[in-house]
Symmetry: C2
Subunit: 404 residues, 2 copies
Amino acid sequence: MSRLLYLQSGGPTAVLNTSAQGVIETARAQGVPVCAAADGLLGLVEGRLLDCDALPASEIARLRTLPGASFGTSRHILPPYDHDPAQWQAIADVLHRYRIRQLLLNGGNGSMTTALQLQALADRFALDLTVVGIPKTIDNDLEGTDCSPGYASAAKYLACSLREVMLDMRSMGSGRVFIMETMGRHVGWLTAACSLAALPGLAAPLLLLPEVAYDEAALLARVAQRLHDDGYCAIAVSEGLRDSSGCFVAQQHADAIYGHEQLGGAGLWLAQRLQQTLGAHAHVALVDCQQRAASHLLSATDADLAYALGRHAVQWALAGQGGVMCGLQRLAQTPVAWQVVPQPLAAVADLERALPAAFIGADRLSVTPAFHDYLQPLLAGEVALPFVDGLPDYRPLCWPALPA
Amino acid sequence: MSRLLYLQSGGPTAVLNTSAQGVIETARAQGVPVCAAADGLLGLVEGRLLDCDALPASEIARLRTLPGASFGTSRHILPPYDHDPAQWQAIADVLHRYRIRQLLLNGGNGSMTTALQLQALADRFALDLTVVGIPKTIDNDLEGTDCSPGYASAAKYLACSLREVMLDMRSMGSGRVFIMETMGRHVGWLTAACSLAALPGLAAPLLLLPEVAYDEAALLARVAQRLHDDGYCAIAVSEGLRDSSGCFVAQQHADAIYGHEQLGGAGLWLAQRLQQTLGAHAHVALVDCQQRAASHLLSATDADLAYALGRHAVQWALAGQGGVMCGLQRLAQTPVAWQVVPQPLAAVADLERALPAAFIGADRLSVTPAFHDYLQPLLAGEVALPFVDGLPDYRPLCWPALPA
């Protein structure tokens, strides 16, 4: 009997496993055997496959609220055929040996390029294989979809966290600046989401987007005004903030923060600048992987969309509709509604969707109401987690190897 | 008619306002007018009082899940009488003018010293005043109480966050180290709490407690082992980690991190050491104020205890039982039960409770089962928040000034 193969690729999101749940439950309902590659593409190359059918339905249901990538993921890149024909052959052998007829790749824009390559690999080795992409990225930078699963939950986590900290700062009134550094090296979707932390009596944080060159004079004037008016000032800064010459501010100053960028350079760099220029005392929060792993604050909408995309991917793959990514198209705003639409992989692979100009405020330190209209429906709904002993029940699932 | 005055003092916690709710609802039920000082002691000195009776019961109930200090707080310290008699006089005038008969101070160990001073002030100016302390600190370093409200919710937030990130790292298997820096400059209660992130298949993070001098050789051996066995390693480090000569590691290296400690020196310093010694790539999370403001992940037990302490403080103050702090005494472990007991302010003021030796593991990088037994009941229970548009409804309460 033939099989459907599922791969997780790139950094996890809070709802990556929710798409996996959609895939497995849909395939199971159709009686199609499902397996997954251990550690994503790496496991496919090495022939390490896991048996998704070995666990009972109750365990599969736990995928809905499990952080991380349950099957393991990697950033492994498939070289062009001419550079490494042996690797292509190895994959073809695995696909053949395990009678894989459908391959679903759950990843970001780089992974959609890999999906294209895998479709080409099937053609080259004359394999009967249908490849479908399932979008996933907290950065929300995939083209061809209204949003990418993972983004909304990360956005909800960041906005909620910043709202909480702003209430804390407001009650201290200590003249301090709070800087939250967000992921999104090239695109400002996550930084922009911090704007929703605002409430009546709680001004929106100033936003330093990677799409906008750092304008120190403009920023300092606003920070000084906020400190005067409110007694505190909150700033959300992208890890990918750039100066007017297009260089990452953190990269320029990497030496000062221990020689590599990963340490959250932009926030610390900014704190230093505010101290040097305004004498302001700044706290810096680096939430790092937390923003993509915080399943305790899922957006139910995000989880539902992630599941629906997994489900559609199976249906299309079984119908032989390959070479596409499942995209989301927003049909209506009130009440919000989406439909899943096929997007040719070639039309989305390796492209990067920046925050549109229409979403960036005139002062370049804020977002427009249009952005709020875009994001708000995505945050809606909460997901009740199972708690054991006061903490979420995140016991990892143990997938057995697929028998040869 | 006489009044009861409530003050918030020091850094907020996620349940500081829950104690305020306990105070106001209890006093209201007894028909006693309640006011609060704006910005804590600072507002008392300056005669800025807020009217707690001006808001309806439905608004008071919202205090249960509101982060920050709703009345404002400060780190203002009352100098000894001889240093500033005018300030003592100013406070006496305010207490007299507003006919304050009971004063409740909600704070940490420094605030309990202030409570003692205020009782002395009442004696000096022959005021009829009963002073009661209500404990509060995420650091959990107050003597005379099984725990301090705020600690358990911060512990829950840290353990949950680290558990999520460990699942993320586990699925990447990238040989990376994740370092979470926790608050608690002098005591390791928060760092220790990170140990509860562990699950079957998810090793407990290595702990660097401020009570234990940094032993690099011991740490590196364990990190290398974890990287080999698991493909990743998580570490929780106290912001107050010290070397064998008793110096803060972050203070020593402050220049390298922009000249002040507040930027989370210990975690970044440690990342640098791991890179220099093991060539390990480390991610650092600085959650800063988030760990004390994360009301979206309250411990219901913590909230219940915070409320009970506020309620008892009112009852004792109205009964004239002053000069004490409401302490918690654990009566039983299964099922867990506490009673509220009076502790003389003089017996708790300015003392600092370190993590007991019996809670520190033999390898000095872990905690004992006894610590788990201590902490686990404190994490129990979740508090459902009201959400609006996908985010917690944290609209600040607007307290009107108390009419003169």
